[in-house]
């Protein structure tokens, strides 16, 4: 095991997959010469050449559509959309084509494309640059949506996504590329489905994904130290499909559920997980599940407003205490 940063883990997965399979190419804005906005493709242009690591004109819909067309032909493009905010420009291609053509062609045409999309609220980027769009992608049947919370997942999920014949959206986080963690030295493929218990606990389950897993872990420490409450933390690295079984199992274990999402609550991950709890584990519950979400506003620009609009460990702790008080 070596410790590496999240961006290095993504870079390594790129490198290994390009090396392994000549069908793999990378497409995107500023991915070649400068190695990507978050360095995730650094060094690859030199190593694999401009035919495989391709700096495109700025036109998300163009290179996404082109990548999908190439994927029909068996090429395995890894498409980096510089920021999820600009994925909106490519939405028709992703939703109407990547997600549906396999189905509509009776399985004849496959889209083995990967859409790597950094997103989330980074530091003060304002409303048009802070979108959290995972809920949009997970609502589209035909797409897989995964979201790594650690360098190990970032590495293993990308490798599995490249090898999958389905279109896979990988939701990365602009603020996590510097996060450090252990990544196996040997090749490692992370499952594209499931969830992972990242902290054991018996009193309440905190469900998180991507960055919010880290908030959950911080909150769990505070709860343990200050309240003697032991929280279980579940990492929902696969947002589509969601791990119904894992969610059921966790709720059956602690009987209390808090779902933490960086996005606005409406039609979001929290809403979906709550629905699953309702359908799968209602009679296990000792208390009403609670969501901790972002404020339902466009992300404000000013730092104090931005922090106020986002969940954090303190807000999770407060939610757990409120849930217990109401019980």
């Amino acid at each position: 095991m070596a410790e590496m940063m999240y961006w290095q883990a993504v870079q390594r997965a790129h490198d290994e997959e390009l090396e392994r399979d000549a069908n793999v190419i990378i497409l995107g804005e500023d991915v070649g010469l400068v190695g990507g906005t978050y360095k995730a493709t650094s060094g690859l242009l030199d190593k694999y050449g401009a035919e495989r690591v391709i700096d495109t004109p700025i036109s998300e819909n163009s290179f996404t559509g082109l990548g999908i067309g190439a994927a029909f032909m068996g090429v395995r493009p890894i498409i980096e959309i510089m920021s999820v905010n600009f994925a909106w420009l490519a939405m028709d291609q992703i939703m109407n084509n990547a997600a549906k053509v396999h189905y509509m062609s009776g399985g004849q045409l496959r889209v083995p494309a990967v859409f790597r999309i950094p997103g989330g609220t980074a530091h003060q980027l304002g409303a048009q640059h802070s979108a959290r769009m995972e809920k949009v992608f997970m609502g589209v049947a035909g797409l897989r949506v995964v979201t790594p919370s650690t360098p190990k997942q970032a590495y293993g999920l990308l490798k599995s996504a490249v090898r999958s014949d389905d279109p896979v959206v990988i939701h990365e986080h602009e603020n996590m590329y510097q996060f450090k963690g252990e990544v196996p030295d040997e090749e490692y493929l992370h499952p594209l489905e499931g969830s992972e218990v990242v902290r054991e606990g018996t009193d309440v389950t905190l469900f998180g994904y991507n960055l919010s897993v880290h908030w959950c872990l911080q909150a769990a420490d505070i709860l343990s130290e200050e309240q003697r409450i032991e929280a279980q933390v579940v990492d929902l690295y696969s947002l589509s499909p969601l791990d119904r079984e894992g969610i059921h199992k966790a709720v059956a274990n602690t009987h209390n559920a808090v779902i933490v999402e960086e996005a606005e609550p409406v039609c979001g991950v929290g809403a979906e997980v709550m629905a699953i709890i309702n359908e799968e584990a209602f009679f296990e519950l000792d208390s009403a599940p609670i969501r901790v979400s972002a404020a339902n506003v466009p992300m404000p620009f000013a730092r104090n407003l931005e922090l106020a609009a986002l969940p954090d460990a303190k807000k999770i702790v407060a939610a757990v205490m409120a849930q217990r008080a109401a019980r």
Binding site: E29, D30, L33, V34, T37, Y38, D55, P57, I58, S59, N61, S62, M82, S83, N85, F86, W88, L89, A122, H123, Q124, L125, G126, Q128, H129, E174, N175, M176, Y177, Q178, F179, L211, H214, W215, Q218, A295, N296, V297, P298, P300, F301, A302, R303, N304, L305, L307, A308, A309, D312, A313, K314
Partner: protein
């Protein structure tokens, strides 16, 4: 075989790099006041721009996109438009925004991460900066449609970069501007780079101006570092649009002397020699040289103008640095015309928390790692 279409693209330049006139100047450009006035704005923009970069470097402001080397374009836009026209800007048109009435403190506030900077106390209907590249092109044709529909004598001016011409929104917008003969001008600041992607990798088209041909509108290329050429070309395109004769694409050849933004390091992808070549084409130097030879501009005037600008900039920076933070409850305040009930409750809750924790915010765990990487 016979030919069904042919076209050519005009290139406009009035001054060479040394400021020497290459042709008879338009009348207005022989008047001292016109040129001095433009130069004043260009110098103010440049000095302000440098201060803005310094504020970012010292942690007093967020990511900033410098317009170093592109000041002639900003000045020409600002001075050619009428007050009640509508400017639809990109993030690199600080100079034009200043002339159009934004105060320096507003611009600093915007880049400092405070939405209030996008709401300067100006009388016109100019748009705030659009972050999704080229999306504003369609807004501009919408504005122009409204003017045409209301039979108003106004025009829209849309500023974009060379990279933006690759976006579908740009093509869709020029197409509409053509079929509906809209009063709009597209100003493409071709500064040779779109972050790390050079102009040649953006489009195989010989000029960006000629993209107009397919849309059935006029396209012209101009030396964007030559204020006189810039202003003259803009005047004509604006007049044409205003008088109902349709849209124009102006491709202004310039160069981004700075990094893409303060979060970028351009030495990763372009050579110092290339930058050096373009430094010789500096728009301020050129106009200054011209004024020295043609209208007796001298070191004394230059110095006093510089001092005047610097003082103004200092005052504005102080105003920015001492501006009070917005209350967090403001995040709800511009959401709807009047706030729905569910939000009233949230707003009250936030207000109460804020009062309770006033000061305690600083302790919050901040998982941010660094300034993020792009505009």
């Amino acid at each position: 075989m016979s030919r069904v279409a042919a076209f050519e693209i005009e290139y406009v330049q009035y001054m060479d790099e040394s400021g020497q006139a290459l042709a008879d100047l338009p009348n207005w450009a022989t008047e001292v006041e016109s040129l001095e006035h433009a130069y004043k704005w260009m110098l103010l923009t440049r000095l302000f721009d440098a201060k803005a970069v310094a504020l970012q470097r010292t942690g007093q402001m967020g990511t900033y996109a410098s317009c170093l080397g592109q000041e002639a374009i900003g000045a020409a836009i600002g001075l050619a438009m009428h007050p009640n026209d509508v400017f639809v800007p990109s993030y690199r048109e600080t100079g034009a925004q200043l002339i159009r009435g934004s105060r320096m403190r507003d611009i600093l506030m915007f880049w400092g991460g405070d939405e209030r900077g996008s709401n300067p106390p100006i009388a016109n209907q100019d748009f705030p900066v659009a972050i999704p590249i080229a999306s504003q092109c369609l807004h501009a044709v919408g504005v122009a449609t409204a003017f045409k529909y209301r039979k108003q004598n106004r025009i829209a001016l849309c500023a974009i970069g060379d990279g933006a011409t690759s976006q579908g929104d740009f093509y869709e917008a020029i197409n509409l501007a053509g079929v509906w003969k809209l009063p709009v001008v597209f100003l493409v600041s071709n500064n040779q780079w779109a972050i790390s992607v050079p102009r040649a990798a953006q489009s195989a088209s010989q000029t960006l101006a000629q993209k107009a041909i397919a849309a059935g509108i006029d396209g012209v290329q101009v030396d964007g570092n030559d204020y006189i050429a810039m202003r003259d070309t803009l005047d004509q395109a604006i007049e044409k649009a205003r008088s109902g004769n349709g849209a124009t694409i102006i491709e202004a050849l310039t160069y981004r002397l700075s990094d893409h933004t303060t979060a970028d390091d351009a030495s990763r992808y372009r050579s110092a020699e290339e930058v050096e070549v373009y430094k010789q084409k500096d728009p301020l130097l050129r106009l200054e040289r011209h004024m020295r030879v043609a209208m007796g501009w001298d070191e004394g005037k230059q110095q006093s103008l510089k001092e005047q600008c610097q003082q103004q900039i200092e005052e504005e920076i102080q105003a920015y640095l001492t501006a009070e933070a917005a209350p967090p409850t403001e995040m709800f305040d511009y959401l709807y015309e009047s706030l729905p009930k569910v939000y009233l409750k949230q707003r009250q809750q936030l207000f109460d928390e804020w009062q309770q924790h006033l000061g305690a915010r600083e302790e919050t765990v901040d998982t941010d790692v660094k300034e993020s990487d792009h505009v």
